[in-house]
Symmetry: D2
Subunit: 363 residues, 4 copies
C-alpha cells in the first residue's frame, strides 16, 4: 500500500454514470430557457427533436420519446411490442433481466424475461434458435416468445457487427418476434464500428430502440426511438400512464438535440473508447504481475482479474472502480476521462503490483 492515500486526485472509473454533464448539453438547457412553451412535449424544441432523430437515423418515420432512465426506456419500449403473455428473450446477462427490478414484468403486464447464452454477453444465434425450437407455439401454458432484446454494446462491453445483428433478427422474425435494442451505450458502439446509426438499428431489423445519453454526457436523458408507427401510437399512452412524460419536456429534448447534433454523441463516445484502449494496452503490459483482462473490450468497459493486494492498493490510491469479487474488477471510462488519468491509473497500479510483490513472497 502506498503512502499517498488521500493526497492524489481521485480517478473515476466506477461507471460512466458517475461522470458529469457535457458543457454543450448544459448550454443547451440554458438556451432552452427562453419564453414559455406548451408542456408535455407540445413545444417547438421537442418537435425539432423528431426531425433530428429522423435525420441521424435516416428514417423519416422515426418517433422519439424522451424519458429519464434507461429502465423506463427499456421497459416501456418492450411493453409496446409484447403481449402480456409474451416472453422477452435476451442475453442471460442483460440489464432488463438482472438489474431493473422486474420493470419489464411490471410495465409489460406480467410478461416474462428469459435469458439466452452466448460468449461476451452477446446472444449466440444457436441459443436463440434453440429457444424458438423448444417453444410450444400456441400452447397457452407456455409464455410465447414475442420479443428479442439485445444490448449493443453488451453488458460485457462487446459489440455485435451489423451482420451479426441481422443474423439474430432474421432468426427472430421467422417466428414474428419484434426486436428491441437496449442502446444505453449505443454511441460507443456506433463510434467503435464507425457505421451509420441505422446500420445497427432499423436496417439490422430493430423495431424500437432505447437510446442512452445519460452515461455519455446528458442529465438523466434517454429516449425511446420507435421505427414503426403502431409502436409510437402505443407509446403515447404507455409513457404517460407510467409517469414518463415530463411536463417541461423541452429541457429534455434540448439535451438530446445537442447530443445528436454535429456528432457530439460520437465524439464523446470516441473519447471513452480511446481512453479504454489506452487502459487495456497498459494492462496488457502488467500480465506478468497477475493482471488479466477477462472480457473483449470493444468499447469502454474492462473486466479484469488482479491480485487482491494490488486491488486494495489501487483503491487506496484513490482510483475508483467496482470490485466484483476478491480479485475481479470492472473499469469504465467516460466522455470525461482524460489520457492523463489513464496514465495515472496505470502508474498507480504498477506501483501497487510492484510494491505488492515482495510482501506477497514474504508471506
Amino acid at each position: 500500500m502506498t503512502e499517498q492515500t488521500g493526497t492524489q486526485t481521485p480517478i473515476e472509473l466506477r461507471s460512466d454514470n458517475a461522470a458529469g454533464v457535457a458543457p454543450e448539453i448544459l448550454d443547451a438547457i440554458a438556451r432552452a430557457n427562453t419564453g414559455s412553451a406548451l408542456a408535455y412535449g407540445g413545444d417547438a424544441v421537442t418537435e425539432e427533436l423528431h426531425t433530428v432523430v429522423q435525420e441521424v437515423f435516416e428514417h423519416p418515420g422515426a418517433r422519439v420519446f424522451p424519458v429519464t432512465s434507461g429502465t423506463a426506456a427499456n421497459a416501456l419500449a418492450i411493453s409496446a411490442i409484447t403481449p402480456p403473455w409474451g416472453a422477452v428473450l435476451c442475453h442471460e446477462s442483460a440489464h432488463i433481466l438482472n438489474a431493473e427490478g422486474g420493470a419489464t414484468s411490471l410495465l409489460g403486464a406480467g410478461a416474462v424475461v428469459k435469458g439466452l447464452a452466448g460468449a461476451n454477453s452477446l446472444i449466440d444465434p444457436a441459443s436463440l434458435q434453440a429457444a424458438l425450437d423448444a417453444t410450444r407455439w400456441g400452447d397457452p401454458h407456455h409464455s410465447q416468445p414475442s420479443v428479442l432484446s439485445f444490448t449493443q454494446p453488451s453488458d460485457r462491453g462487446a459489440i455485435y457487427t451489423p451482420s451479426e445483428l441481422s443474423e439474430l433478427t432474421a432468426i427472430a422474425k421467422t417466428r414474428d418476434l419484434r426486436v428491441h435494442l437496449d442502446g444505453a451505450r449505443l454511441a460507443n458502439a456506433v463510434a467503435a464500428l464507425d457505421c451509420a446509426p441505422a446500420d445497427v438499428t432499423w436496417r439490422a431489423g430493430v423495431d424500437v430502440l432505447s437510446l442512452g445519453a445519460t452515461k455519455n454526457g446528458a442529465i438523466s436523458s434517454e429516449a425511446i426511438v420507435a421505427f414503426d408507427e403502431r409502436i409510437a401510437a402505443e407509446l403515447v399512452y404507455r409513457t404517460k400512464r407510467a409517469g414518463h412524460v415530463m411536463s417541461k419536456m423541452r429541457f429534455q429534448s434540448a439535451q438530446l438535440i445537442a447530443y445528436l447534433t454535429d456528432g457530439l454523441w460520437l465524439r464523446l463516445a470516441a473519447n471513452s473508447n480511446a481512453r479504454m484502449g489506452e487502459l487495456v494496452g497498459g494492462l496488457a503490459a502488467l500480465e506478468p504481475y497477475g493482471v488479466r483482462l477477462t472480457n473483449r473490450p470493444d468499447v469502454n468497459l474492462a473486466f479484469v482479474e488482479l491480485p487482491e493486494a494490488a486491488a486494495d492498493a489501487l483503491e487506496s490510491a484513490d482510483v475508483r472502480y467496482y470490485r466484483l469479487g476478491v480479485e475481479r474488477a470492472r473499469f469504465v471510462t467516460s466522455w470525461q476521462t482524460t489520457a492523463d488519468e489513464i496514465t495515472g491509473v496505470l502508474g498507480r497500479l504498477a506501483s501497487a503490483l510492484v510494491s505488492d510483490r515482495p510482501s506477497s513472497t514474504a508471506q
Copy 2:
C-alpha cells in the same frame, strides 16, 4: 378583433407548466456539475437533500424520492399505501382520477380511484364520511377504501386550511385509511396560508406527499416525501422498478435543494399568487361587461366566464390561455408572470370587451 395581432409580446397564462426555469435552479444544476458521483442517489447532493427536506418539513424521519413528473409522484406514493384491492378516495375533479391516464391503477396493481363531491374541488367531509359508511368492509366484492388523496391547492385553485385537512384525515383514520397529498402546487398553498409546511402535511395527518417543483420553476423535478419509514422502504423498490430512479440523480436533487433553500419555493409561489390577485382584482371590474369568476382563486388559478367574442379577441391579442368551452377560460399565473403582464392582459381584455360591445348590440 384588434389589428395589433402578432405585434404584441405574447403573455403566457395557459399553465404554470409553460413557464421557464428559475435562475437559481439553473445555477444549481451547473454547480452540481463538478467531479464525479455515484449514480442512483448514492451521491452527496441527494444525501443533503434528505436533510433539507427534514428541516423544511420539521420531520427528522422524512425521506425524499426525486422523480420527474407529478403523475409518477402521485401514482408511486399511492402505490406504497394501498393494497391492490384498495380504493383511493379523492375529489371527483382530482388529477389522479381524470388526468393521469390510469397511472394509479397501473402502478397500484389494479387499485381503483373513486371521486367524492365537494365545492371548489375541495372534498366535503360529509361526502367522505358517506363513502366510508356505504362501504361493505371486509367484503371482497367491494374495493376497500384504503387511501384518502387530496389535492392542495385543489384543481380549482382553492385551499384547505390546516384544520379542514385535519378534519378530513381524522375521518379517514377512523377506518385506517392512509393519507396522500397531491402537492403539485404545494408552495402556492403554503405561501397563501403563510403556515409551516408541516401544518398542511404530516401535522395534518398526511402520510406521504407529492411535492411539486416543476410548475414553480424547476425542470421536471418533483419529489415524493414519505413521513413513515415503511412507506419509504417500499418506495426504494417501487421507484426503481417503474423506471423512476434517475442515474444522475444529483442534478435532480440539486434543483430541489435550491428550490427549498432560503424560501425560494415560497417566494416564487408568492409571485404567482400576487399576480393572480391583481388579475382577479382587475377582472372584478369587468363584471359589467359579462366577465365572471367561477372559482375561489386562493392561489394562482382563475376560471372565468367571458363573452365569446372577447375570448376570441384576447386570443388574437396574443394572450395565451386555455378555453374550456365557448365562454369559459382558465388563466394561470406563474413564478415568471410580471405585474406588467397582468396589466397588459387586463388592458387587452378591456379593449376586447369594449370593442366587442357595439358589434354585440348590433346583432
Copy 3:
C-alpha cells in the same frame, strides 16, 4: 312477529346464486364421467360445446371459453378488448364497477371503469353520448373510452330491447368502442323478450359476451362467448394465465351443453321470471300497507320498500331475502322457486303487515 319462527320451511329469495343445481345438469356431469379425456379443453365434449354455442347463437365463428365465475368471465372478456390505457364505460350500478373487487383493472392491466347514468340501471344513450363527447380523444392524460359494457338484464332487473341495445352499440361504434355484454342472467332476458339469443348479442353489436349459467342451475359454470376471432385468439392466453382454464374442462363443458340444449336454459329462466311475476302481482295488492316496488321487474328481481316491522317479521318467518336498508329489500326468484313458495311468501308478508298494523298505530 309471528310465533311460527323456525317451524316453517324456509323460502329462499336472497339470490338465484343460492339455488341448487338442475337435475339435467347434474346428470350431464355424471354422464361425462366415462373414459379418459385430454385435459384443458382438448376433449370431445368441449369441442361439441363450440358447436352447440354456434348453433344457439346462430354464429358459425363463435368460440366459447368456460370459466367458473362471472367475475372471471367479465374481467377476462373485457381485458381482451381494451388496451391498458382504456376506460370501460358501464352503468354506474354495474357489477364490474361495484362488485368485482377491481377485477377489470387487475386483469385489464390497469384499465379503468367509469359509470354512466340511466333509469332502471339501464344506460341512457344520452349519457353514453355525453361521455364520448367529453373525452379528449388521443390525449394520453385521459383514459380513452374503449369498451361499452352493459348488463342484460340490468342489476335492477330491467331489460334492454334489441333496438335499445343497437342504439347504444351504434353510438359506441362511432368511436370504435368494442362492446361487452354481462349476461350473468342472460337466459332471463332472452326468455322475457322471447327473442333469439343472437338478437340481444352479436346482432345488436355485441363483440364478446359473459354467458351466465350458475345463477340458473349450473355449478359455478359461466362462459365467455367471443364473436370475433381476434378476441378468441387473445382469450386462449388470457384465460390460462389467469388460472381460468380448468384441466378437467369436459365437466364444465358438459354442464353448458346440457344447459343450452333443448332450451333448458330458457325453461329454467322462464320459471324464475314467472314466479317473480306472481310475487310482483301479490306485492301490488299490499301497497295500501306500505309496500312499494321500486324497480321495473322485467325478469326475476324485485326491489321493494316495506315497513321495518314487516321486514323483521318476514325474516322471522323464515323468508330469506336481502335487506338493503332499514325499509328496503331485494327479492330474487330462481329456477327452483315454486308457485307454492311465492304464495307462502305473500301469505307470511300479509300476516306480518296486518299484525304489524295495530302496534304501528299504537306508537
Copy 4:
C-alpha cells in the same frame, strides 16, 4: 407394428389429468345439492371444509380457499407472500416457471420467477444457498428473493423427505423468504412417504400450500391452504378480484371434504403409486431391449427412453402416453389405472419391442 390397432381397449397414461372423477366425489356433489345456501363460501359445507382441513393438517389456524385450477392456486398463493418487486425461487423445471403462462407475474403484480438447479427436479440446497448469496439485498436494481416455492412431488416424480424440505426451508428463512408448496400431486407424496400431511407442509416450514385434488379424482378442484392468518386475510381479496371465488362454492367444498375424509385422497393416490411401481418393475425387465427409465419414480410418473419403432408401435396399440422426443416418453398412472391395464401396457410394449427387433437388426 401390431395388427390389433384399434381393436384393443385404449389405456390412458398421458396424464392423471385425463382420468375421470372418483365415485365418492361425484356422490358428494349430488349430496350437496339440497336446499339453498349462501353463495361465495358463506355456506355450511365450506365452513365444514375448514374444519376438515384443520384436522387433516393438524393445524387449528389453517384456512382453505377452494379454486378450480392449479395455476390459480399457485399464482394466488404466491401473490399473497411476495411483494411485487420480489423474486420467487423454484426448481428450473417447476410448473410455475414453465407451464403457467406467466400467471405468477400477472397476479404477483410483476414479481419474477427464477429457476434453481437440482437432480430429479428437486431443488439442491447448495443451489438455493448460492442464489441467496449472490443476491444484492436491499438493492432495488435486483428483484429480491422473497419466496421459495417447491413442488412435492417434483415435476419429474421425485419426493423430498420431510428433513430435506426442512433443510431447504431453513435456508430460505435465514433470509426471511416465505415458503410455498405446489402440491398438485401432494397425495401421491404423502402416500409414498406414509407420513402425516403436516410433516411435508407446515411442520417442514411451509407457509402456504397448493393442494391438488383434480389429478387425483376431483372435478377441477384445488385448494389453497394458508397456515398463517395474514396470508389468509390477503387471499380473501386476492381470490375474489382474480375471479376465483365460485358463487356455488359448496359444490367445490363438498368435493374437497369427500376427498380428504377417511383417507380417500391417500387411497386414490396409493393406487396410482402402486400401478406405477408395477409399470416400473416391468420396464426394468425390458432394459435389454433398449428401454431405460430416466427419472426416480417415487410416485406415479415415469420418464422413459425407448426405441422409436417401439414407441410408434405402442401408440398404435392404443396405449396413450406423451412422447417428449424421438425416443423419450412420459407415462403417468392415475387413481383409475388398473393392474390389468399395466399388464396390458407391458405386454403391448414387449410385443412391440420383440417385433421391432428383427427389422432393427435387418437395417
